[in-house]
Symmetry: C2
Subunit: 235 residues, 2 copies
DNA sequence: ACCTGAACACCGTTCAAGT
DNA sequence: ACCTGAACACCGTTCAAGT
């Protein structure tokens, strides 16, 4: 009664391929952040030397291109296939669909740490990007835009979403030239920093300190999204 | 007739301060890109050791915070003081002013290589950011928004601009699973890559290949900006 | 108060050499 | 076809020691 051939040698090395390398790179990014991704750590996961990775991939830069391509593919599956196709049966206008897709894409980016950062760092042209563009072009043209404006709108919408997530996930830091230097929580500290601003020069910012320090990000995202979509249909 | 005391010893070391360090860091970023900025190269510019930089600055991370703060300060000077104050005499509505400011801020970011990248990488709360927010809050409230919406609009507008510039300055790369692999110019290659897409799956993207490959970025930026502003006033 | 020297624990990448 | 070992030219950061 022989076991599977898989188990013949103990601690066998995992199989390697460019695809597996890219998937593992995404794992590492999501576990420890983009900064912590290195060829050496990636190689470790497969039990090989860093130099060996270069047999599968030309450079780290090239690998990040593949990572972005993969993430865009995953985004398509999550945002469009699952989210839109299924509920496409209901009779909603293209504007509602666009709205739901944008919200779903933001959720995807938030669910994959640093994905907005990698994606924003390079424009990777390929079929994954085309997969994202295709339904957007369709929806915008159904909204009455001509081809050129549909391209503009799709591009701008993706840029808005990625830019928004990038902002909301950016590490917050305080730079104050003021004397006080307490070590309270970052959020309270921020409100305090804003409250310390010169009353004469920044009356509005000071008055809005509460809104700035504890923002409702989902509704802020929706605010910008809705204004943009309203501006499109208003034309 | 003695010369200035400055010239007593030849190849004298330049004076050092946190501010000068930050300015030089910005110089280095603009000359060779954010990736090329290192504590060692920065120290070299002052004729000191890398370790000495740590007397002025807690860490590279902290220094990048200061870099962002400085860039936001420069942006304020360029975008608001020069651009808005001067022409504020003409009787234009707040919408026009916002439009001009947004265009000027994009121009500023484009003029300072990698500035969008650093600025997007961290949210540095301080008086430089407040300087940017204050006039925005004023303009949006004059447009009829309440305080909460003015904050949303200001935040979203800045995010849109930074996100847009980040996208347009992102290095372009091609990832194709197709057989053809020619080495023509990147732009022609991109149009070709788009043309090679599956006719069945991506008819709209293929049809828009020309618009995608050679986009008019200034008008694309204006397109998104105008839709957003129109959406605000339409409400 | 300001700076050095040396070290530590890392990087991406190349390349001859091994199997 | 796939992988190693060793090297090269870098990193950020710490810290005792110097002036």
């Amino acid at each position: 009664m022989p076991r599977t051939t898989q188990e013949k040698s103990s601690t066998k090395r995992s199989p390697i391929s460019t695809e597996l390398l890219v998937d593992t790179a995404i794992d590492l990014i999501e576990a420890d952040g983009l900064e912590a991704l290195s060829m050496r750590r990636l190689a470790d996961r497969f039990g090989i030397q860093a130099a060996s990775v270069y047999w599968y991939v030309a450079s780290k830069d090239h690998m990040l291109d593949l990572v972005v391509d993969r993430l865009l593919g995953l985004a398509y599956e999550n945002v469009f296939v699952e989210n839109v196709q299924q509920r496409g049966s209901e009779d909603e206008g293209p504007e509602q669909t666009l709205r739901r897709m944008a919200v779903a894409y933001r959720a995807f980016l938030l669910a994959h740490p640093d994905s907005a950062k990698v994606i924003s760092s390079r424009l990777v042209v390929g079929s994954s990007l085309a997969q994202l563009f295709e339904p957007l072009l369709d929806l915008f043209s159904r909204l009455g835009l001509d081809q050129r404006d549909s391209v503009h709108a799709s591009y701008v919408l993706l840029g808005y979403i990625q830019g928004f997530v990038l902002q909301e996930t950016a590490p917050l830091s305080l730079v104050t030239r003021s004397p006080t230097d307490d070590r309270s929580s970052t959020l309270k500290q921020m409100e305090a920093a804003l409250g310390r601003l010169d009353e004469e020069r920044f009356p509005l910012t000071r008055a809005a300190a509460a809104d700035l320090a504890k923002p409702d990000l989902p509704s802020r995202f929706a605010f910008g999204l809705d204004r943009f979509l309203a501006g499109l249909t208003a034309k």
